[in-house]
């Protein structure tokens, strides 16, 4: 890998890890700041039950913002979701302007109010596993998301969530 590609790969990793901290802290607006205007987001999973590649959720940047802005109007499980990720691969395109990354993803739920808070609050549950498959554009040395696919293995999602994974 060239020095420039290494630099780009480091920038990509930095954006991924930074985005996870922001999502963990439910700083949705700050997360969207890491995304291009034409950002596309989707949560997908293959179901061996119905033998179908499913899209559980999708939206562009504007749709995500609208949805997140409306969260206070909805009843929600407020148990925080905490991500543990490892960036497995970063492939930098030849022109050095775009890159693709594959990141292993585990999301834990730190129980607060989802079941019986007296008993469950403070406990951690495994919420889902999967991968982030991200595409980036380089801008002034920074990597910005223009596409994120959350590729889930989990299909038993129990109560689900209103939040961006």
């Amino acid at each position: 890998m060239s020095a420039n590609a290494t630099k780009i790969a480091d920038a990509v990793k930095d954006t991924i890890y930074r985005s996870c901290l922001l999502l963990d802290d439910e700083k949705w607006g700050d997360f969207l700041e890491l995304c291009e205007e034409d950002f596309q987001y989707a949560i997908k999973a293959y179901s061996p039950e119905i033998k179908y590649d499913m899209t559980y959720f999708r939206g562009d940047r504007k749709e995500l913002k609208t949805m997140l802005d409306m969260l206070p109007k909805h009843n929600t499980d407020h148990s925080p979701l905490k991500r543990h990720v490892t960036v497995y691969t970063v492939d930098v395109d030849e022109d050095g302007k775009t890159a693709t990354a594959v990141t292993s993803l585990v999301v834990y739920q730190n129980m607060l109010d989802g079941i019986n808070s007296h008993v469950d609050a403070g406990e951690n549950h495994l919420f889902l596993i999967g991968k982030y498959i991200d595409k980036f554009r380089m801008e002034n040395g920074r990597a910005k998301f223009f596409e994120r696919e959350v590729r889930l293995d989990t299909r038993r999602l129990d109560k689900g969530t209103h939040w961006v994974i």
Binding site: E49, T55, Y56, R58, M67, H74, K159, G160, T161, H162
Partner: protein
């Protein structure tokens, strides 16, 4: 009235006995076991959609009342159901959720179901076609000709759903069992073939009936911002609950104003065949199945009760098999933006029943759970639940409001 003391709290509500239930019907393990025997092993249960086994030799596996079931499509294209249990040593024959028998398994040969344990094999009609070293071990005392699988009543009905009944003596067909409750959407779901595009499951710590209750009453729309903003007009409040024999209920339609919810759009363009734009019908079937057509997408929920306080709910979304990729993507969005695991409403519904499950556990003090709203059968009338529990009482021979009493004796 100020907060009540214990005697006041457990007092009989000032309602008729069919307008409330005793919470032990949601928490008592003995009642739960009885429900599996008396209801789930006796009634028609929709297990999947035929598009999940679209080719000959495809299969799906399920459980009804702890009994493992396998559904297959044979070379004659007929869908059949069997107990997924080998007659030899009682092993579960197929462990995968779905697949094809076109490829042979390690212990067997192509086109047959094979029990991996001792390699007994069965064809798609449930005939036993191979017993390993049959003559050597059994001489003629056990012959493969007599060792077929346990076949189950199975029908494909109402838009291609696969229905199975464990009781050979069930007197009604699926058509009879539905008693007309599908009429409201029948043309829409039977004009052309459907296809499943969504599946996920939830295991929730609540009784299965609490989930069905939630599907059966729309008073809980106060919980859903989406439903309040897109409904809650004169037309919404004029929707009728219609009851059918066997405990089933329809919730009649109205025109949903999807575009009142910011970021959402009208669904008129992709309405199911013959279905008026943006209409929404719901069918609640005893003992806990739900079919929900919101204009462009069909949702089907099936419940598998796991314990008095635990239920597995499987959620399916369906569109038209003829959808173009663009149409399908729009339909998927319409379905999942409300009903997906990351959608607006389903999460709220599941939080609701989880709260009920937490507040009513095995051994909890007995509570009186009300369904006594009467509004001329209109949308917030709780007639759907009353109708369900009348049916439940008959099948269980227990009074829902006093489950230790016999249903008929108390009714007199």
């Amino acid at each position: 009235m100020p907060a009540r003391n214990h005697k006041q709290w457990i007092a009989t509500p000032p309602l008729k006995s069919d307008e409330w239930v005793d919470s032990r019907i949601y928490t008592d393990p003995d009642i739960f076991e009885e429900e599996l025997e008396k209801i789930f092993k006796k009634t028609w249960i929709p297990l999947c959609h035929e598009s999940e086994l679209s080719e000959p030799f495809d299969f799906r596996t399920f459980t009804i009342a702890r009994e493992p079931i396998i559904v297959t499509r044979a070379p004659d294209n007929k869908v059949r159901a069997f107990l997924n249990v080998c007659p030899h040593r009682g092993n579960m024959i197929e462990r995968r959720p779905s697949g094809s028998f076109l490829e042979g398994e390690p212990s067997g040969t192509p086109k047959n179901m094979t029990c991996m344990f001792h390699a007994w094999q069965f064809d798609m009609k449930g005939n036993c076609v191979h017993i390993s070293r049959e003559k050597e071990g059994y001489q003629d005392r056990i012959r493969k000709e007599d060792q077929g699988l346990r076949r189950l009543r199975c029908e494909v009905q109402f838009g291609g759903f696969v229905w199975v009944c464990l009781d050979d003596n069930m007197s009604q067909s699926v058509e009879d069992w539905a008693a007309g409750c599908f009429d409201c959407i029948r043309e829409a779901i039977e004009t052309e073939p459907l296809e499943v595009f969504h599946y996920h499951k939830a295991i929730i710590n609540c009784n299965y009936k609490l989930w069905h209750d939630t599907n059966s009453e729309f008073y809980h729309d106060y919980m859903h911002y989406h439903n309040r903003i897109t409904g809650f007009n004169d037309e919404y409040f004029a929707r009728k609950n219609v009851v059918f024999d066997n405990g089933h209920v329809n919730v009649n339609t109205f025109e949903v104003k999807y575009d009142e919810y910011e970021g959402f759009e009208s669904r008129a363009e992709l309405s199911f065949p013959t279905f008026p734009p943006n209409q929404w019908y719901m069918i609640d079937m005893f003992p806990g199945m739900n079919f929900n057509l919101r204009g462009s997408a069909l949702r089907a929920d099936t419940v598998t009760p796991l314990a008095a306080d635990k239920v597995m709910i499987e959620f399916r979304g369906l569109g038209l098999k003829s959808d173009t990729p663009e149409e399908r993507m729009i339909r998927v969005n319409h379905h999942n933006s409300i009903w997906g695991p990351f959608g607006r409403n389903l999460h709220e519904d599941l939080i609701g029943v989880t709260g009920q499950g937490s507040a009513m556990q095995t051994g909890s003090d007995v509570r009186r759970i009300l369904h006594g709203r009467r509004e001329d059968n209109l949308i917030h009338d709780e007639v759907g639940m009353r109708h369900f529990y009348k049916e439940w009482g008959k099948w269980m021979n227990r009074m829902p409001s006093d489950p230790m009493k016999k249903y008929m004796a108390a009714a007199e």
